[in-house]
Amino acid sequence: MCLGDDQSGGTVHQRSVVRIGASLIVASLALSACGSRSTSNTGASDGKKIAKIGVMAPLSGDLSSLGLGIQHSVELAVKQANDSNAIPGWTLQVEARDDEAKPDVGKNAATAFAAEDNMAGVVGNLNSSVAQSTQPVLASAKIVQVSPANTNPSLTQGANFKTAPLRTYPTYFRTCTTDAVQGPFAARYLFQKAGIKKVATIHDKKAYGQGLVEAFSGEFTKLGGTVVSAQTINPDDSNYQSVITKVKPKGPQAVYYGGEYPQAGPLSQQMKGAGLNVPLMGGDGIFDPKFIQLGGGAASAGDLATSVGAPTDQLPAGKKFLADYEKAGYKEPSAAYGAYSFDAANAIINALKVSLKDAKDVVSARQATIDALGKVSFDGVTGKVAFDKFGDSTTRVLTVYKVDAAKADAPKWIPVNTEEFK
């Protein structure tokens, strides 16, 4: 057999070829690595020093449509800052790394960022569960991290956020609001505005989904409503019939889902297919056009989602952001977190304006960046951008969206209620 021939003849010759080949590859890798480092240290051609802004988000996989929107929005903010020479003497660069929405991959990305001397700040992650593993890495390197999308309260206020909030990582900030606000906001909308008294809850057992459902259930029962059934699904499953059968006889008037659109869309479609014709409501994780696509198009009409802030296209600054984004010609849309990522990047840039002004390099300015970021206050494209003592956004405006199928062939999300949460 051909396999045997390979092993018996010509081994010595082949091995030496392999050895030479391998050492050549190693050498070329080492050379290219040196090459890239030297260019990044000497700086850009116009003699300016370089500061990098990292992006960590899922750039591939189910959630990539959100992640790529984050990346491009940061790129837009950095491009505008460079064009207007926002930080004299410095050029900003974007470096994006894929976290695949997985905590271990995210940790690797954060470690790579922490090792870079000219890393000035990081925008990310999308998922709260991933941020839990990247926070300590960046904190130990004193690199500021601003998330456009993490809504789990414990990230800023510690595990006992309900009773004894305590800031865990001074480097972590976020431009979006939290599930401690988002869940109750949804509960109030359902109970007070939609007149729904009985709900079932389902979540995907991840940090985001579970936190959201807990906050929702707490507020909903406090208002006087009943949670008739509390279930979970396995995020790897794609058939939810057995859960739906469990929920349906309890007669809920709505289902509140904690999780993201890859599961929520099919869940909504299968609910309606199984004759459970009640709206599915979720948080910002399901507020995406893909939810409607996976939910069977017009079949998902009436489903609800909350998302942080006012609708981007209803604020003048938001409109300008969307127009600029359009003009820059990125391949993927800015998606649900584009505007928040743009504001997150600008918050870092505003902090760098203060901290890098007289700094000789990025590393020595990192503590100053943390301090400056805590004091940032400007009008962003999502509203006022400023942080409280925990690093949370001080703006607590949320919006309820509904799937509208007035045009049956092009159903879309429309805002139905924007309010400041008190």
Binding site: S238, P266, G273
Partner: protein, 320 residues
């Protein structure tokens, strides 16, 4: 009572899907003693084959007459993959130690998943996408064919989805076809002979290599039907769908007695029904949807402890 029947229907639907895939594991094992772990990916590629056919030929047309053509498309994709896999990955290892093809199977499984993930839409790096297919990195919606999807039927308090009827019907048709093929055709009898004793079968003039290819193709045919059924049921498909489904189907094959075709069908149905019932009837802390897989595998362990040959009995002779 309604709830019991409802979970029974759910279980049988899920079980039909497992059964269709499990046949592929069992047929190949019966002849080669190889656990083809890449079979889950054959199922996944079947679903993508159907989606491709629909996107390229029908452009959003979801009339019922497109369904048979989609199934044919799925079968071409699945059978093509399975036959190539046999020819280039398993045949060169025919006389190698048993561990080698097993590890190869895992390798092929990973290769096929990543291939679909990265290259379903051609070669994005070169902007080469002649068919205009979408990016398969995230879940893709599956065409909702008229008649077989849509509002569910209500029969005395029990909801039966249209896609569930399709899945169970597909299992019945495939089982009859399989029974006829194995017991009534020359090739089928050849398969039985090779499974009993390949050396003697060869001496009797049976082309063993051809029989092996037929076994792979047969498993792939059923997996293709399962891929379409899953797409219709769940409304979406993704490149990872083969992994969990393959694992469950393999479990079903072992449960029924690996190597035994009827056993694969029975094992699939039993596994599906146990999952459904465990969701509903195990009370308290250890019940509910999150525990259904635990109970399914507890059942597997119990069966293997008390009846190691599986429910219907495995092939008696093991030529290891």
């Amino acid at each position: 009572m309604d709830i019991f029947v409802q979970q029974l229907v759910n279980g049988l639907t899920l079980g039909s899907l497992y059964a269709l895939i499990a046949v592929g594991y069992t047929v190949v094992y019966g002849i080669l003693q190889l656990i083809n772990f890449a079979h889950g990916e054959v199922f996944m590629i079947g679903a993508f084959g159907a989606l491709t056919t629909s996107l390229v030929l029908f452009k959003g047309n979801t009339a019922l007459w497109t369904l048979p053509i989609m199934i044919v498309g799925a079968m071409i994709a699945s059978v093509g993959t399975a036959v190539l896999m046999e020819r280039f990955a398993y045949r060169p290892l025919r006389n190698a130690p048993r561990l080698a093809p097993l590890i190869t199977a895992i390798g092929i499984s990973i290769f096929l998943q990543e291939f679909v993930r990265l290259n379903y839409n051609g070669i994005p790096q070169l902007n080469w996408n002649p068919l205009g297919l979408p990016d398969a990195k995230s879940r893709l919606p599956f065409p909702q064919i008229d008649v077989v999807t849509g509002p569910a039927f209500e029969v005395g308090g029990v909801t039966i989805q249209r896609a569930a009827i399709f899945t169970m019907g597909a299992l019945v048709v495939c089982s009859v076809f399989l029974w006829y093929f194995i017991n009534r055709t020359k090739t089928g009898r050849g398969m039985k002979a090779v499974s009993q004793d390949p050396d003697t079968a060869r001496l009797m003039g049976i082309n063993v290599d051809r029989i092996i290819v037929v076994a792979f193709a047969l498993g792939a045919l059923l997996a293709a039907v399962a891929g379409v059924a899953q797409g219709l049921q769940n409304n979406n498909i993704d490149f990872r769908m083969g992994f969990l489904a393959g694992l469950k189907a393999f479990t079903a094959a072992v449960l029924g007695g690996i190597g035994n075709v009827a056993g694969a069908v029975v094992g699939g149905l039993v596994l599906g029904v146990v999952e459904g019932m465990a969701t509903q009837y195990i009370p308290g802390q250890f019940g509910g949807p999150p525990w259904k897989d635990v109970w399914a595998f507890v059942l597997l362990i119990l069966v293997l402890v008390f009846r190691p040959q599986g429910l219907l009995g495995a092939k008696a002779v093991d030529r290891a």
